[in-house]
Symmetry: D2
Subunit: 349 residues, 4 copies
């Protein structure tokens, strides 16, 4: 059984495990105040430009989203997001549990745009009962989106401009940021994100780490006591060193990007191969998640050997389903070849 | 520099690292639904008796406390705890952030007793304005306490009885549970805790794991949708397997207890050695944290070579301070010998 | 200037003021435990059937919605509502501030139906990642809706049946309940609501009281310590007698229904008169809010003399707007006549 | 039966009822944006000095405390208060329900002092694990205290100075502010409070209004969107005019102070008369709550005719109890005379 189910099915890249072993008996301070965290920050800063930017390490994505958003928003504010945003649909109400509404906008390939944001904000303040509504307080987007698409630099600039205009902090969820940064369509660097967003995070969990997300805060005045919040929200790992060791390894010599490149290349190979066999897609994805539309009969045949997930069963049409195929830093190229070969055979049958 | 600062200064026991390496490329389901978590549960269940008991794995202690307490309490309820309880003083207001007051009782060696709980509950319902006060909703205790002391089985039974009488779920924080279970004074088993408490947890972070806490829920009807809450509170690790692999290793053949025994033996050796040199203690601790009272001058001399923490500086008397010395699964016996030798020399000077 | 802007533009029906004066110097217990509250409950109970039903008095609508919903939901649950529901759009995020998501469904005239609820619940549990989503925990509907429409008994029964099937408490917002109960289309009694819902409220603020909402809890086991919650959420009036005195007067001899009838009759007169002049409506409303669509030019002429509110300016078409006209227990019949006469003149010009 | 149980046993001063009747059919805007609220603000401003000070009207005390505190605190902060503070003990956990801990200090006559606050704040920042604790975020005091005592201007200045030093907003609960301002010991004006505090409120409920508290915000930059919060927390009365009409009447010609004076004079008469009969007191109170210590036998005899409340039964000594006697704007002087006469007779028997 080969799994294309997600990009967190395996452990971690072996260099990370080696680093853990190498450092295992060194005694360090707890809670992220150790020398490995400092080293990791130094390596990450090579990709950044602003001297005042802060870096913090948290354990997982939902935790990171919740902690950042709860740190920034005022109690009468909500966060603007795509209706497909992870915070809107897949975090068990974590944002609401901190007291805040997610103000959703209809998405395009998981994206929202500057015009939508401006319309929502203007509609709020134009309303005569605006004080009876949740005040838009910040903007959350994902790069890449939950559907694998990416924002261009121009799109990000437009969003950033509108956010500044309305004093809305911009937060970019980078759970799969690596795959966006290395994909062919991309024209944005990490330093661009630092410039355009107030805070974003570099996902480790889905790109070769055991776990961990590096939060890059380029507007630290928006979240001045963030470490209290990391602790309060359960994200302050006692052995914070584990995060430092992992991110140091990922950014020592750009392993992070190599791993993302591996995932993207294999996904693109699958996307192209599937397209050549005549299948259509929910969208063209440039990153490591692809969404072919397969006949249900074919899906049943594939299921014996390959684990994928199936979305909106029946939405495309009653006989076909959207299939989500995800590759990762750990995906074996032979698995991709095998899948394409099997698909070819099943298609031609 | 040798650190007795805490029991999370090192990585993990090497057998755990080996297990991570061994399983690294196996593909599993995410979010704790993998075979390693199942295996770990099977091993832990050997120490339990009730068929209906559930086991869940979370990442850290603050997160575990918050998620359990927020799952059990009704919105008009608070949690009873010692005024020294971790949730009362060292979690950045995590409990309050979920909407609940911590109802504190004065401690003795970090412990509270059944009579105190009964008095608090009776006082609540005897008050004519009881509906204007926070309703006591559950009881939180730590085994061992934050001061290293342990509850006897008789004390736990008395607390459990009062809790049942007043329909107060009992939750035991076992961040250092191993050290309580193996110490000389102990007369309580894990199955006793399962019987007496509604939920407790087995701390991994402070006993040889990289991280992780195993929550044992013997009254699952009190927290029926706990996995939603783990996700909402940011404790559902994408690579949940990491928790399963670690706890499987810790409980496969009682490594967990061996590691705790190591820590306790070295702490007790230190406690005895320090006592023999004529120093007094804040309390006699049977576990892996000890609290000698040292002259400040001595402390300054020790600080060059040993990292400890110093509590309530000046409280004992203006010239002496309470010193917290913590040993762990990783403490080198030679470090203990060196400390005692140095202390002897400094004392006799 | 005549206001049709809302139904809380005036003070209270004079009989209520008389009752306040009459009882003014009587000393009573505070916080709703006085004899007037008891009397009011006795009068309201005449319209109910279940012996176990509880009645509580709160000050306002947002407060009532928030306190009821926060009392019922578990921390991992959300409340299903129409996307036009008051809790979804006009309460400044009050529900989210208690930690809960509002799970919205598209409305028809402000209503949702049993099929929509069933689909939402089934979709939740059919999802493989259901634990990563907010669990549907209860249903909120408004009778009449925010658009003046009412649910038929058959519609309410269907919703109630689905709610029971999925163990979802049903809560009916009755901010304008009087107008639903007395309108021509209505086939539902207060006792029917008691039977079909788990909790509903009888709005006083918008039907002749100075303020106040009577919460009827027919499933008190769902909110066992509701008075703690009323206090916590700031709804427990020190001089609770004020609520008792008002509701006693409203229900002593059905003044409540007389006042609602007055409002509905005048609104219907307006609706018919406006229709006869050839204008269309956003919907046909049987209650005290009507929604004619007027040319913008006409609106500008009316604005000098009449205060109404204008919705979705320009949505109907660029030259016309939806106008909300609200009558109340205090509306002067002559105001209605004057409006219709002026409208006729302006229309025929 | 005569009640000295509290100061909210009656309705409202008749001038307030007259004003409600007089204005009853005038149509106004809702939610506090009417001309009566403006008028009331104008009258209150006569007692203030700063042009930027904002005034808002809320319904009740718990609601006011919760809304103000939740508007000011950051999510990682708590509010410092006396352990007897209303927010610490009598609001059903309202503050915690908004996510914040109440950081209590031991009281003296219900008061805390500047030194205590400074010690708490210094201890927080001196702690090496300060980020693991709740950050002190503001200070709450009551004038008069829950025990009837008042702060002198010097005490308030010292607290205000320390608050400024540590950037802690100061909030004064004035549920019974009138009685503090008019009592013999007082040396503080409303303008002093405006100067020394960042926000305080003028209690109406306990001083002759049906209900209502006027919040005076002299540092509006600390709570920039307060009206959103009033709405969210259920304090925005639809018929906001009711608050305006009442406070306009109370402050049109200082009725507010006359009513407070009435209450204080009668309480002081009681206090003096009781002292002359040889009884001692929990404390000497200058305001409208007094706390004589009576033998339990005497209490049983008084209970037939007078309603008081009894605190800490048995604490003073097993045979005597602290009795709380409260007078109000509505207390009949003859009730006071009758009580003193009966007490004399019972004492001399």
């Amino acid at each position: 059984m080969i799994s294309f189910y997600n990009d967190y099915s395996e452990g971690a890249h072996e260099r990370i495990l080696d680093a853990l072993i190498r450092t295992n008996r060194v005694q360090t301070s707890g809670y992220g105040e150790d020398e490995y965290c400092e080293e990791a920050k130094t390596f990450i800063r090579r990709h950044l430009r602003k001297p005042g930017t802060e870096i913090h390490f948290l354990v997982g994505g939902t935790q990171t989203n919740t902690t950042v958003i709860a740190s920034i928003l005022k109690p009468w504010q909500g966060v603007i997001a795509a209706d497909t945003g992870h915070i809107a649909v897949h975090e068990s109400g974590a944002i609401e549990a901190t007291g805040h509404k997610v103000l959703t906008l209809p998405h395009t390939e998981g994206k929202i745009n500057a015009e939508q944001i401006e319309r929502l904000v203007r509609a709020h303040y134009d309303s005569e009962s605006f004080e009876h509504q949740v005040q838009p307080g910040m903007v959350y987007i994902s790069q890449p989106t939950e559907y694998g698409a990416i924002y261009s630099k121009a799109e990000l600039k437009a969003i950033s401009t509108i956010c500044h205009k309305f004093h809305l902090p911009l937060f970019i969820d980078g759970a799969r940021l690596g795959t966006a940064l290395v994909c062919a369509e991309n024209d944005t660097t990490m330093a661009d994100l630092e410039e355009l967003a107030d805070v974003f995070y570099i996902g480790g969990t889905k790109n070769g780490a055991l776990f961990g997300e590096a939060v890059v805060v380029s507007s630290p005045e928006l979240m001045p006591c963030f470490r209290y919040m990391i602790k309060q929200k359960g994200g302050m790992l006692a052995k914070g060193r584990l995060l430092g060791i992992q991110f140091a390894e990922l950014f020592r010599d750009d392993l992070y990007f190599d791993l993302a490149r591996h995932a993207v290349e294999l996904a693109q190979k699958l996307q192209q191969g599937i397209a050549e066999l005549g299948y259509s897609f929910m969208l063209h994805s440039p990153t490591n998640q692809i969404f072919p539309i397969f006949p249900d009969e074919l899906i049943h045949q594939l299921e014996d050997k390959y684990a994928c997930s199936y979305w909106d069963w029946g939405r495309a049409d009653p006989q076909r389903s959207i299939t989500r195929i995800v590759t990762s830093w750990a995906t074996n190229p032979e698995s991709v070849n095998a899948f394409l070969a099997d698909l070819k055979q099943l298609t031609e049958k």
